[in-house]
Amino acid sequence: MTSPLQQKLKITGPTVITANRLTDGVVVWLTAESGWSDTLSRAAVVSTPDDALRLLGIANADENHAVGAYPARVTVADDGSLAPVNLRERIRVGGPTVALPGAAA
């Protein structure tokens, strides 16, 4: 397996590192304090390949807390709030786009 530190990352804008929490699989993001948060707004945002690789290295070294880390594009609004860019990440943030069976319609 290629070490994440040798990977070439194409970073084209604000980027966060996301993964799933080991214990329960919940979607988490790497924070500026090198911890994990289940809130996107607490994610550390970087915008260069070097910075993204550095964060990815930190994330992958912590796979006893979160697994399958990878970089994901975000947009940063004027007020600083973060939003996922693609559909996959929107679903990871917001849950399935369909009503869950048994849930009140």
């Binding site: 080991l22 329960d24 979607v27 399958g68």
Partner: protein
């Protein structure tokens, strides 16, 4: 029902203990993710978009009412109150926590259930006809052999780390409801000179490189089943490709070395082991048969007065015509329970629905339930005189949509709403289609159409073999869908033909509707089914119309 004995129970408990220890070692950091992943997969545990997913094996699709209640319990206690029945006759839960999994497994084991070999590069749950032991058209109960295969393949030490996953399906009926020609191994039970045996088909499969399987042996005496399977698996384990995950299935090995050479290798290996420890005899097969408890069928005759009277109710009559099939025992019937109500995710059932089906199975169906690969449930043994009462109870639970085999009986994978591999969503599309085709008169007029949706090329929704197949693809973060026509999963299995360029999400339902309108217009009569018309006409007329209005 196959009744587990002390042996099976001991095994399951030991499996639960082993998995509990493995989870503990992972949470303690003793196992890294790379080491743990294959271990959890072999217990049916995936990591999906939002959570871990647990897939529970339902061997050859047969469930007791108590097992169904155990599934309802897991849905409530460890998940979010529902589960998803799959095309491999299993069920999966979408919101399980890793730290709670060992307890969930222990609860399941008490009902004789587990997630064993529902994932990973091992021999998976053997699937079969959901009408087994109920349909009049079969020569023997195929579950007998599926159970023999289950025992042989469970934690097989030689075949736990194969090049890739390995799926076996078996049928004993003329009409193949188990899609055996698109499995790694398909087995068709038939008789020759008074001896029961199998046609052995190898190297079928869907996914990225779909193939219809090749027959490598027309007739294998039933006593030789396990030794022959072991010879196939050994040939695959030694020679299947391991350099490229996309070329690692047995279908690629068969394709690359040729059916003839593959068969030669299998036969050579088999010659060495056929008289060894795996040789079966009648007594061994009967010992397994003795573990299947035959329902205590009441002596009844067909067409009881209760049923004839009920047919005057048009709603019941419609359901009866659509969802009830003949049974081998007089006065009985096979009932298919639609898990495809309008606007709902195909194959999903709530915990309350599971409990309700369990209770109804106890009251009306000798406590037995089946899961069909079309993602519906089946009550295989229902007394005809109870059909009306059963229908009313099913209807009250939203489980009596009379759309079995029709356009809204959609097979769909979970798609991008849940799955980490998906490129596009499947469920919203299925929901939109069922809403467009909600008119029961209209779908009955259109008649038999199998529509299959996969959210990516891995083809869990079996789109290649749908009469209408829909494959989700992603283009610049937009969902597009490719449409194929003319696929079939039955004994004349065939892969669908691509209709044309992929269409955007908001166009798919319109395109499907135009395809079906074209069929209704061009069919020779109502007797000519959609698939027959596609075969007669080719895809051109459908293609013209499907894209014309855009």
């Amino acid at each position: 029902m196959y009744i587990y004995d002390e042996f099976d129970r001991t095994f399951l408990q030991e499996r639960v203990d082993e998995f509990r220890d493995q989870v503990k070692r992972r949470l303690d950091g003793e196992l890294n993710e790379e080491e743990f992943k294959p271990l959890r997969l072999m217990n049916g545990v995936y990591l999906q978009l939002h959570a871990y997913m647990l897939r529970i094996a339902i061997p050859y699709g047969t469930l007791s009412s108590d097992q169904m209640r155990a599934l309802a319990h897991v849905a409530r206690r460890y998940d979010r109150g529902y589960g998803h029945f799959t095309t491999r006759q299993n069920i999966q839960f979408n919101w399980i926590k890793l730290e709670e999994l060992p307890d969930a497994m222990a609860d399941l084991a008490r009902a004789g259930m587990h997630g064993l070999q529902t994932s990973g590069n091992c021999i998976r749950n053997t699937t079969t006809d959901q009408w087994a032991n109920a349909t009049p058209e079969e020569i023997e109960d195929p579950r007998l052999y599926a159970e023999i295969i289950r025992q042989w393949s469970t934690l097989h030490p030689e075949f736990t780390y194969l090049p890739r996953k390995f799926k076996i399906a078996i049928t004993a009926a003329k009409h193949d409801r188990a899609a055996i020609r698109v499995h790694d191994i398909g087995l068709r039970l038939h008789r020759k000179d008074g001896v029961t045996g199998f046609e052995v088909i190898v190297g079928g499969g869907l996914g990225r490189t779909p193939f219809v399987g090749k027959t490598i042996r027309e007739f294998l005496p039933r006593h030789d089943l396990l030794s022959y399977l072991e010879a196939i698996l050994r040939t695959y384990n030694a020679g299947g490709r391991r350099d490229n995950i996309y070329k690692a299935r047995i279908k690629i090995q068969v394709h690359e070395i040729g059916t003839e050479e593959f068969t030669r290798r299998v036969e050579a290996e088999w010659a060495q082991i056929k008289d060894g420890a795996l040789a079966l005899d009648d007594a061994a097969i009967d010992a397994i048969r003795a573990h299947f408890k035959e329902p205590d069928f009441e002596a009844l005759t067909d067409g009881p007065a209760e049923l004839e009277a009920a047919k005057t109710n048009p709603d019941f009559a419609r359901w009866y015509a659509n969802s009830v099939a003949p049974h081998r025992k007089g006065g009985h019937a096979i009932v298919t329970i639609s898990l495809k109500p309008v606007g709902a995710p195909p194959g999903d059932a709530t915990a309350d629905q599971m409990d309700a089906v369990a209770d109804l199975a106890d009251q009306y169906a000798y406590g037995e339930i089946r899961v069909a690969h079309e993602q519906n449930l089946t009550l295989p043994h229902v007394r005809q005189k109870d059909l009306f009462t059963l229908w009313q109870a099913l209807d009250a639970q939203g489980l009596a949509t009379p759309n079995i085999g029709l356009i809204s009986d959609i097979i769909a994978c979970p798609g991008l709403d849940y799955c980490a591999l998906a490129n596009a969503r499947s469920i919203p599309l299925a929901q939109d289609l069922t809403k467009r085709f909600a008119d029961l008169d209209r779908i009955a007029d259109i008649g038999r159409v199998h529509l299959n949706i996969s959210g990516c090329i891995n083809a869990c929704g079996h789109h290649h073999v749908g009469h209408i197949g829909i494959l989700g693809v992603e283009k610049q973060d937009q969902e597009f869908y490719q449409i194929t026509l003319g696929g079939k999963a039955n004994h004349k299995a065939k892969l669908g033909e691509l209709l044309g360029p992929a269409v955007p999400e908001n166009e798919v339902v319109n395109v499907v509707e135009r395809i079906l309108d074209t069929y209704v217009e061009l069919r020779t009569s109502k007797q000519e089914t959609f698939i027959a018309a596609v075969q007669r006409l080719g895809i051109e007329p459908f293609k013209e119309r499907a894209y014309a209005a855009r």
